[in-house]
């Protein structure tokens, strides 16, 4: 892709997404969840989405609202069940959304593998458990490992703290979570930030996600307060 573009609003940032797309959505609970980008995705009216997120929505906003609108066919996550996951719970119990449950480390590493050109990897996580059923295994150094394949997205929606116009990103505290690996793993990576600064205003030593991974940037003022 060409260098990152700063776009006017969240709707422009998600333009072009199609029915049936796989969308990687950052966040751990609401920390790092790109609420305004998810809302814009919902407004496009696309359906049949596969969503990759650590959880399955909180309350009635963001990812939960996207689920409630019936636009998600399948969710790949590690921890759907939470005290405030009532939207997902109802859809799952009535068979209106498919769930692929993935151990959290495999979720992160499968995304990393997709971004790094790794065809698959072996890891002991889940060996001998129901989540390894049907998967290839191999004994390495006397220990059973399970073969895991990459998870690649058509679109990644990520929340970062600050971007420069070259697309370099820094995050804030534990809101970083899945953002850096998801940014590498999608055809188009869209980032919402609190602040966009000129090139050179982020110390190169402190860049967490280099701009090569970022396609579109949108500034959402005070988005930290919006999710609080």
């Amino acid at each position: 892709m060409s260098t990152a573009q700063v776009v006017a609003d969240a709707d422009a940032a998600v333009a072009g997404v199609t029915d049936g797309a796989t969308v990687l959505i950052g966040g751990f609970g609401t920390a790092g969840q790109p609420m305004e980008l998810i809302d814009a995705l919902r407004r496009t009216g696309v359906t049949g989405l596969t969503v990759v997120n650590n959880n399955a929505g909180n309350g009635d906003v963001g990812l939960a609202a996207l689920l409630k609108a019936g636009q998600v066919r399948r969710i790949i996550c590690s921890f759907p069940r939470q005290t405030d996951s009532w939207v997902f719970d109802e859809l799952y119990r009535t068979g209106r959304v498919e769930l692929e449950l993935v151990p959290q480390g495999n979720l992160a590493e499968r995304l990393r593998a997709a971004g790094a050109g790794i065809g698959a990897f072996y890891c002991p996580t889940g060996a001998g458990t129901p989540l390894a059923e049907g998967k290839e295994t191999r004994t390495i150094d006397g220990r059973e490992h399970v073969l895991e394949y990459p998870i690649r997205g058509d679109l990644a929606l990520v929340k970062a703290h600050r971007a420069d116009v070259a697309g370099n990103l820094v995050y804030r505290k534990t809101a970083r979570n899945f953002g850096p690996v998801m940014a590498t793993a999608a055809t188009t990576t869209v980032v919402q930030v609190d602040d966009v600064v000129p090139a050179g205003d982020i110390d190169p030593e402190n860049v967490v996600t280099p701009g090569i991974y970022v396609d579109r940037i949108v500034r959402i003022a005070n988005s930290a307060e919006a999710v609080a």
């Binding site: 751990f28 151990p103 959290q104 060996a127 001998g128 458990t129 505290k173 534990t174 967490v208 999710v227």
Partner: protein, 223 residues
């Protein structure tokens, strides 16, 4: 850590331990200077009992080393939470990293201890803690399988018996497994057990003798 080879201690004047006392007992066995992950729920309370001078660093799966206590008042920041999504504070020397790095720390064997809850533990250390297997239950695994295979020592906190009185320390788990042969110590209301080479060593008991417990459990106990 290898389990204690010392003789079993029966504390008959106290116990069973309550929900606050079990995490306090676990804290006594966390080695100074270690890197530790505490699971959500009761294991989180272990942090309240750690010696502040012991140099223990807490890891949280959502991308932080040097996690501090729960945040209060103006300290609360929605961008700074623990694995249970509770706001926390930083400690001096803390660091942040992304999820793949966070789980590489677990899976790469860099954590000394993790403390988890459990539905069942088997004599050989198999762990079941993510799913009851009930058809209407919504399964959620989170980081439990990665911690189970990755941490050098896996400590479990649980009641020794379920609400119906059935033992949760069992010859073989009947609930879906989280990890195989991974649990090294089990901290319960009635006793602490060390698991090695398929044997269940009783470290301490609270309010029961080893013989009392042996009569209620379906597993051989070693003193």
């Amino acid at each position: 850590m290898s389990p204690s080879a010392s003789a079993t201690v029966e504390y008959l004047d106290r116990g069973p331990l309550n929900r606050a006392e079990i995490p306090a007992r676990v804290a006594c066995d966390i080695p100074p200077g270690s890197y530790v992950n505490l699971g959500i729920g009761q294991p989180t309370a272990v942090a309240d009992h750690l010696d502040a001078d012991a140099g223990i660093t807490l890891h949280t799966e959502n991308g932080m080393l040097g996690m501090g206590r729960a945040a209060v008042g103006d300290e609360i920041d929605p961008d700074l939470i623990n694995a249970g999504k509770i706001p926390v504070v930083e400690t001096p020397g803390a660091s942040y990293f992304h999820h793949a790095d966070s789980f590489a720390m677990m899976r790469g064997g860099h954590l000394d201890v993790c403390v988890l809850g459990a539905f069942q533990v088997s004599t050989r250390g198999d762990l079941a803690n993510w799913h009851t297997g009930a058809p209407e239950a919504i399964p959620a695994v989170g980081g439990a399988m990665d911690l189970a295979i990755g941490a050098r020592d896996v400590y479990v906190i649980m009641t020794l018996f379920d609400k119906a009185g059935a033992p949760k320390l069992v010859p073989a788990c009947t609930y879906p497994l989280t990890g195989l042969a991974c649990v090294t110590r089990v901290y319960t209301d009635h006793a602490v057990f060390a698991l090695t080479a398929g044997q269940v060593h009783v470290v301490e008991t609270y309010g029961s003798t080893v013989a009392d417990l042996a009569a209620r459990l379906d597993v051989p106990l070693v003193t």
